[in-house]
């Protein structure tokens, strides 16, 4: 008969205790290490988005009509720009995510809020980011509009004013925008912007006047309205972001109209009467009540009247 080994493997309490506690400590150490790698990635991407916000801050046109710049990033990066209109001026919040080890996208960074800029962008992804700035006036300068993009935009047969502008911005700058006469000249991966026809274009622009000062932009089966340089905002950003930024801009127009109205009363006391107070108050109220880009034309008409009156003044308000 086979004898059973009754002694077996004996383990003291001290051993069991130290193994369990050791395992817990080891688990916690690994968990903390993983967590810190994540926090480190989050910190780097947040710092980068903050730096990007700092880059965007001085983009203010003064003497020049428009400007462009290229930002080279160290690696593949996705830039997220979300517009919020939850207070008087609203804000654009920039965050980013970069490609880390193993082609994995890092966690989206903390959002950096920018209140005094209007950033129009859609899906921005890549190592090279293109930025183009253009002032928006109605009737006085309201702000500079910043367009951020990474894909190449192919403008097919645009109106002369747009063609000249894009070619002008492209002089000495890498803008990643081309102007062509027919769709066949665009590359397959280009974002095709058509100014006529209804063919397979990503974006369809309809101008209502020769200078393309007003019109509509159709993308993803939705139509938005534009006036002046907002045409680029409608082209470079998604419909939702565009509408949100238009509301923010119009709100600033309303506050600026109030400011000019107050300035007008100040200078009137010193013998420089403009007689524009009533119109400016009306513009402020109209702008304050606008609901979407479709209402932009109401404000534009009022702004044009103020502009022409100011032009004829001896003591100009702006």
């Amino acid at each position: 008969m086979r004898r059973l080994n009754k002694k077996g493997f004996e383990m003291s309490f001290a051993w069991i205790f130290s193994i369990i506690v050791g395992a817990i400590i080891l688990f916690l150490a690994i968990y903390m290490a993983i967590k810190f790698v994540g926090i480190g990635e989050y910190k780097i991407s947040t710092e980068t988005s903050d730096k990007l916000a700092i880059i965007l801050q001085p983009l203010e046109t003064s003497v020049e009509e428009a400007g462009a710049m290229t930002v080279e990033l160290t690696g593949e990066t996705k830039i997220f720009n979300r517009c919020y209109f939850d207070d008087v001026f609203g804000d654009d919040r920039i965050s980013l995510s970069y490609k880390s080890l193993g082609d994995r996208w890092s966690k989206e960074s903390a959002a950096i809020s920018i209140k005094n800029k209007y950033i129009f962008s859609d899906e921005v992804e890549g190592k090279t980011i293109y930025i183009f700035v253009k002032p928006f006036e109605m009737p006085f300068k309201i702000s500079d509009l910043i367009f951020v993009y990474s894909k190449r935009y192919c403008f097919i047969n645009p109106v002369d004013s747009i063609k000249e502008e894009i070619e002008g911005i492209g002089l000495g700058n890498s803008t990643n925008m081309i102007v062509v006469d027919s769709k066949a000249e665009c590359e397959a991966e280009d974002v095709k912007v058509c100014f006529s026809g209804t063919g397979s274009c990503d974006i369809l622009v309809r101008c209502e006047d020769e200078e393309c000062e007003t019109g509509t932009v159709r993308r993803d089966s939705k139509t938005v309205y534009f006036v002046k340089s907002l045409i680029y905002g409608a082209i470079f950003s998604s419909n939702e972001e565009y509408e949100c930024n238009v509301k923010r801009l119009i709100s600033r127009l309303s506050q600026l109209s109030k400011l000019y109205q107050k300035k007008s009363s100040y200078i009137s006391a010193r013998g420089c009467s403009t007689g524009l107070e009533a119109e400016l108050l009306s513009l402020s109220k109209t702008a304050g009540s606008l609901k979407s880009s479709a209402d932009l034309l109401f404000a534009k008409n009022l702004a044009d009247t103020i502009k022409s009156k100011n032009k004829n003044l001896v003591c100009k308000l702006f």
């Binding site: 916000a53 300068k141 100040y266 010193r270």
Partner: protein
């Protein structure tokens, strides 16, 4: 006799066991204390690391705010709320800035805590500009009661004036100061 012997044997066995058990208990206590010490060491090391790590983040955040303020001050004079004309550079419209004081919505618009514009040439007494004493004053304060702010730049402070020959822009040298937001 047999019973007495067995009782003595049992007592000596118990004594041995008690001694052994006391030694084991002492060992467990020793290990428990050791483990507590190890855990405390890790906690302290972790806290030290976290304080260095987050201290660095705070420093970087302050530096970033300072950088933003420096960048902003170079451009704030050109923003529509301050600029004299669309084509002007580093020219602040005093009439606009005084009007800005009356619009509270602008309080959180720029990423700065305070804006102070002080006329430095021609120099005069420190008088804060209000609706009643303007333009016979030399300091315009926005969102603050302080007289100075840490980051500054020189600007031309202009306003409309009436002369016998007509309306003209009177410009004086001023210093534009901004204070950084502290959170």
């Amino acid at each position: 006799m047999k019973g007495k012997r067995s009782t003595r044997a049992l007592t000596s066995y118990n004594k041995k066991n008690i001694v052994k058990s006391k030694r084991s208990q002492f060992k467990i206590q020793q290990m428990a204390f050791m483990l507590i010490a190890v855990v405390l060491f890790f906690i302290l090391a972790g806290l030290l690391f976290l304080s260095v790590f987050y201290g660095g983040i705070r420093k970087e955040a302050t530096e970033s705010k300072q950088e933003k303020a420096l960048v902003l001050i170079s451009k704030i004079a050109d923003s529509p709320e301050f600029s004299c004309y669309e084509e002007s550079i580093s020219c602040v419209d005093a009439d606009k800035v005084l009007s800005l004081k009356e619009i509270p919505a602008y309080k959180d618009f720029w990423p700065v805590e305070s804006i102070v514009i002080k006329k430095i040439y021609p120099a005069g007494k420190d008088i804060e500009c209000t609706k009643t004493n303007y333009p016979n004053c030399n300091t315009i304060k926005l969102f603050t009661k302080e007289n100075i702010a840490p980051i500054s730049t020189f600007v031309a402070l202009c306003r409309k004036e009436k002369a016998e020959s007509g309306i003209y822009d009177k410009c004086e040298l001023a210093i534009l100061m901004v204070g950084i937001k502290s959170e």
